[in-house]
């Protein structure tokens, strides 16, 4: 029975010129967005590979020089783009993709296209995620607003109910019919996406991406299901199809345009973040005056000198078997680590709290949940950015320690590091955040998503079984 209703709804929609027109536009937009995303991904990842190789090359080919100078010379770390980023760019444009790893400093990420963009640009960017998150729900509204209200106006609803069809079956059948019509759009898009994914990534990253793509597809399916349920509920409850359309468009505007804006302003107000200038100043204050505020850098060096002399039972630095300069450099680095860990830790925790608030906001607007999930599964959310930044920083610390150790081992003030020392530093290799951790960062999105899915389904069934005919 339900299948029969779904088939009829589907046939009717497919024969309707309005659906065909709307679907064609959305399909063209979706495919071109996927294509552009894919092109962007393959360009960027080729550049990424080349740049990563070049920075390693430059490091290895340094002329012999003071190891500390080599540490100042440093290397770049480039955040690899995961293949699925062609679906959803996420926060990449805002947080940057490359960081310079050098002595003394934990740098900010660079290459943030959003820095040079105006606020208006946010709306004009056509990504697959925009089409999937904003336009498809609009299409669902157009398909679904009249499902019950329209049949009631036409008079066919009375006839259907007089046949002895359970209203619950009607609702389920209609929902499936709309899903089937959407499948006409989404199945080809998914197949093309899958093909692009296979083309864009090697076998290893394909193995990593496939479960993520599966979950991504499932998430969007859930998003559309809940939108269909909302459309059916409103259509069953509304007095007229015109009213249903207006109510649904209102919901769309609130959740797609108003809610993200409100969530952003609210998080900024609740969890303000320091400006770049303030942040840099508090870091340099802590390093200069000490984290307790009254142990200056000089005092810390003098204390270190005394303890090293005592450790080796020496009277003067010249009598030490090692080069004190290296020890002092490493100690000051390590003090820096504590300062950076404190400040970056606090900043990033704050960003994460902002993200959590966004996710929790999804209880009012499901878009916020799907947006967060989509970024997470595409590998472009903040949690994965932080994971990369942490890995890059650990690598920086390994590099600096290797150079400082080389200073410590050589008492000769004119000592120069050789290419052997440069080579002893392994190349930077980054393993992306594993899927369970990606999902763990999305727990509130998943909870809100579940609440919406169950709530909207119940609402649709409730409204349908109780509607007037």
């Amino acid at each position: 029975m339900i299948a029969r209703i779904a088939r009829k709804e589907f046939t009717e929609m497919v024969r309707d010129g309005r659906f065909r027109g709307g679907a064609l536009i959305v399909l063209v937009l979706l495919l071109s967005a996927l294509l552009m995303g894919w092109k962007h991904y393959s360009d960027v990842s080729a550049q990424h590979t080349a740049a990563q190789r070049a920075t390693r090359e430059q490091w290895l080919k340094q002329e012999p020089k003071n190891p500390h100078s080599a540490a100042h010379y440093g290397v770049y770390a480039f955040k690899p783009k995961l293949p699925l980023s062609f679906v959803d760019q996420g926060v990449d444009d805002y947080v940057g993709v490359a960081v310079w790893l050098e002595a003394h400093k934990q740098n900010d990420f660079r290459y943030r296209p959003a820095q040079d963009a105006t606020a208006v640009q946010r709306f004009s960017e056509l990504t697959a995620a925009t089409v999937l998150q904003l336009l498809l729900p609009l299409l669902i509204i157009l398909l679904g607003f009249s499902t019950f209200a329209g049949e009631r106006e036409q008079g066919t609803l009375k006839q259907l109910v007089s046949l002895g069809v359970a209203k619950r079956d009607l609702a389920l059948g209609k929902a499936l019919g709309v899903l089937a019509a959407l499948a006409v759009l989404l199945v080809p898009a998914t197949v093309i996406g899958l093909g692009a994914l296979a083309l864009a990534s090697g076998p290893e990253s394909l193995a990593m991406s496939t479960p993520r793509l599966g979950l991504l597809a499932l998430s969007y399916l859930g998003y559309y299901t809940l939108f269909i349920a909302v459309a059916l509920a409103v259509s069953a409850w509304a007095k007229s199809s015109r009213f249903a359309l207006v109510a649904l468009l209102g919901f769309w505007i609130l959740q797609s345009l108003v809610a993200p804006r409100v969530a952003t302003d609210l998080t900024r107000w609740l969890y303000p973040t320091p400006s770049a200038l303030e942040f840099a100043k508090s870091v340099s204050d802590d390093i200069a005056k000490g984290m307790d505020g009254h142990s200056s850098q000089d005092e810390r060096t003098q204390a270190l000198e005394r303890s090293v002399l005592k450790q080796y039972g020496a009277k003067k630095l010249e009598d030490l078997p090692i080069n004190f300069a290296g020890v002092a450099l490493q100690a000051s680095e390590e003090y820096g680590y504590r300062v950076y860990d404190k400040h970056f830790g606090a900043l990033w925790d704050r960003f994460e709290r902002q993200n959590t608030l966004h996710q929790v906001g999804a209880i009012f607007a499901p878009l916020l949940a799907i947006r967060s999930l989509s970024m997470g599964l595409s590998g472009t959310d903040f949690a994965q950015h932080r994971h990369f930044a942490t890995a890059a920083e650990s690598y920086r610390r390994v590099m600096i320690k290797a150079m400082n150790d080389d200073v410590t081992l050589h008492k000769d003030a004119d000592h120069k590091a050789t290419s052997e020392v440069y080579r002893s530093l392994p190349d930077f290799e980054y393993a992306p955040l594993p899927l369970p951790s990606v999902l763990a960062a999305q727990v509130w999105s998943l909870v809100c998503f579940g609440v919406w899915l169950i709530g909207s389904t119940l609402a649709a069934l409730y409204a349908a079984t109780r509607m007037e005919v």
Binding site: K8, T11, L163, G164
Partner: protein
């Protein structure tokens, strides 16, 4: 087959749409409810279909109360409104197939479905045409075809012939008579005295929610029926004044 027991309906705005209607329609009977607009004819049919709940009393189909058996009672009846509405993006055949499948008859072959078209006098070429182009008479016939396909034991019709040209109207009555002869119980609300005399076996005259009088059509000539109707209306109006 169809039975109303003290059936009463007050709407929310306090109008008494139906006042203690008691009525029994046996298989093979064609009962025509006559009366002006607002007499309670449509309310009666809506109550038998469970579209609205009675304020008191009950509507029964095959001894089952409509309110407590909303799906089971609908299995036995077919409903034909003033204007049978069809899905305009589907062909006549697809509409018939869909409605009969939803009525629980989902195993008809295409030939069988075309047979129903034939039975109600619809041309075969119309079957494969989208119904956007159908005339009202054709739609009403599709309504009958659905009822036949559904194997309905009772028919509830709400002014099914209003606006039909005399020929289409006549064909429609002929179909009804055939169904009646095959043992279907029919309850038809209509304004059309002539049609009631022509097709009906019994008539009931209603006014202001009350069933004033019933009669067998074979006992009356058309003129007598008309006089009975007009007298009832005058009496009903008097009653209204007294109240």
């Amino acid at each position: 087959m169809l039975e109303a027991v003290e059936l009463t309906k007050h709407y929310a705005n306090a109008t008494l749409a139906l006042d203690r209607l008691s009525l029994r329609i046996e298989p093979g009977e064609i009962f025509c409810l006559l009366g002006p607009n607002g007499a309670g004819k449509t309310t009666t049919i809506s109550l038998f279909l469970g579209f609205v709940a009675p304020s008191s009393g009950s509507a029964r189909i095959k001894d089952l109360d409509v309110q407590s058996h909303p799906l089971a009672t609908k299995r036995f009846v077919a409903y034909i409104p003033e204007q049978v509405m069809l899905y305009r993006n589907l062909t006549g055949l697809e509409n018939l197939e869909y409605f009969s499948a939803l009525a629980g008859q989902d195993s008809y072959s295409k030939a069988a479905l075309l047979g129903f078209f034939d039975e109600v006098g619809l041309p075969q070429e119309a079957a494969t045409r989208r119904v956007g182009t159908y005339s009202k008479g054709m739609r009403q016939k599709v309504g009958i075809a659905i009822a036949i396909a559904k194997k309905a034991e009772a028919l509830l019709l709400d002014e099914p012939t209003s606006g039909l040209d005399p020929k289409a109207s006549n064909e429609f009555s002929a179909l009804l008579k055939r169904l009646g002869a095959s043992g279907v119980a029919v309850l038809m609300a209509t304004h059309d005295l002539f049609r009631a005399k022509e097709a009906g076996t019994r008539v009931g005259i209603m006014s202001a929610g009350k069933l004033l009088t019933t009669a067998r059509t074979e006992d009356l000539s058309y003129e007598q029926l008309e006089r009975l109707y007009l007298e009832s209306m005058a009496g009903g109006a008097m009653q209204g004044v007294k109240r």
